[in-house]
Amino acid sequence: MSVLEKIQSIFTKVLGVPKSEIVLEASRNQFAGWDSWAHLDLVMEVEAEFNCSLTMAETAGINSVRDLAELISRKTGQ
């Protein structure tokens, strides 16, 4: 599975939205369920899935699916 595919299944699990809506362009304010608790859930699940740790600044800087995907790619070299 690619980074995006893994992220898609995490979003589906946490936010309960279909995979088709989780595109790179999608930003935080497009998802009603992406509140601050969901944000932490997403970060925790991503850290577990990719076996990496995001800093507080990185966590706060994620505002779209693309932000997250690029961050993960950069951190894990995937």
Binding site: L40, M44, E47
Partner: protein, 537 residues
Amino acid sequence: MVEPLLRLLAAPCPPPVVYARITPFNQVRQTLAGMAGADQLSRAETLMVWTTPQGSIPAFLKIQEFEPFDLNEVLDEVDQLAGMIRRVAGRVGTVLVLSWATPPYRRWVQAMTLRHEKGLANILMRMNLRLAEALDKSHNVILLDCQYWYASLQKPAYDGKLQALAKVAYSRDFFMKAAAEIKAVLRGVRGEARKLVICDLDNTLWGGVIGEDGSEHLRLGGHDGVGESHAAFQRELRMLRKRGVLLALCSKNDSDTAWEAIDQHPEMVLRRKDFASARINWNDKAENIAQIVKELNLLPKSVVFLDDHPAERDRVRQAFPDILTPDLPVDVADYPAFLASLHCFETVNITDEDMARTDSYLNESERRASVSASGSVQEWLASLEITLNVSRLDRGNLIRATQLLNKTNQFNMATRRMDQEELWRWCSLPGHQTWVFSVADRLGDSGITGLISAESLDGQDARLTDFLMSCRVMGKQIEEAMLHFANEALAARLHVAFRKTERNQPFLEFIQTKWIDEKSGLLDPARMFRPQHVKIQ
């Protein structure tokens, strides 16, 4: 803040699915006080009180921060909180209270922390003991060991980023641990613990294959890591047996060879008497397991099957999806700790009855063996030539039926007590009917020893209102025949109105094998049958 726990509790695996709501941050006392008065709890099954020592016991904060404190003040605050929990406990099914621990990342002065009545760890222990004492009389309050959660996690329990961003003092891994522990305890509360472990022998209870290696070459105990691990695994199983979980054997082996090793091998921990049932033969394991489960009168969902052989596990999983058939650890060194990791033997109490359970099964089977003298129980039952005679309640049998209704305790579904006229009036109402049963066999006639009454409900449904049988005829599957008869006669979807009493456990154990779930009381027609040895007329 424990919000991340909600999603994990609501996840379907492991069961049960728990839908939880979190009360406002840092308002435990206010919330508990409010709950004791309001009826907002009425729909909640379980209340969990998850507090930190520094958050719920203000005096504790002083200790943590090296300020002067008064131990009595600390303990008084513990008593206050316990009192609030006790008041709320009466309004909810179960209260889970998380004991107090300081997180491992918080290192107090280690040389002082256990000092009598001065150190942080010392006082924390006192607080937990006081809490346990104060809650001891509240039978629906369960104190959970937070210290154990931290210790058994073996991964970071804290994530500074979560604390900084959201005041969450625990890591994702810790929440996963918490959710798993909470769910395990809730399964225990709901009586969903597994009751029987069926074990393979070769490379499961001992190392090696007895049919090939011979008893003297089995790896069991001794100065051998593999042998030690198998012996330790057996000790874990024996501990389960001692607290009321039944053990059984299912192994493809020559029966005599295997029993000889079980009886004679010097390093065997489990012996013949530890097993409530056994099938050591070359038959299909699923077939054998079906027999064991039936013999012990359990349901597949109460069973765990342990076998090192993937193909056997696959077969059993396919035949019995409800039986828990876990993969065994790759390394036999991990066998001993493995049982506890299954989280499926939770209980809220261990009774004397639990501790003697295997013995009682053995007594029962010995008794039957002596009665039958030769051949199986089924053969013995068949030899009795049992006839179940059914008649409707009438003026002629009313007196005896009323006696039976009022005297029967153990095998009695509803324990309805009525005098003759009340019973007569009840069964004369439209849609109501009552049958009485007598049992005869080649040795004699027991007279009227059973009664079933029923009422028709709307449409396709009927409800059994009374279902009772004298203990004199128990153990011959008469109850199966009675239920089968009622099912045929009513030709409806059958429900039962079960009412638990202190003494009708035997009935419960029977009907549990019949109903689809307790709540609806709807019986599964596929589980009703006429035993072949009982003739109905």
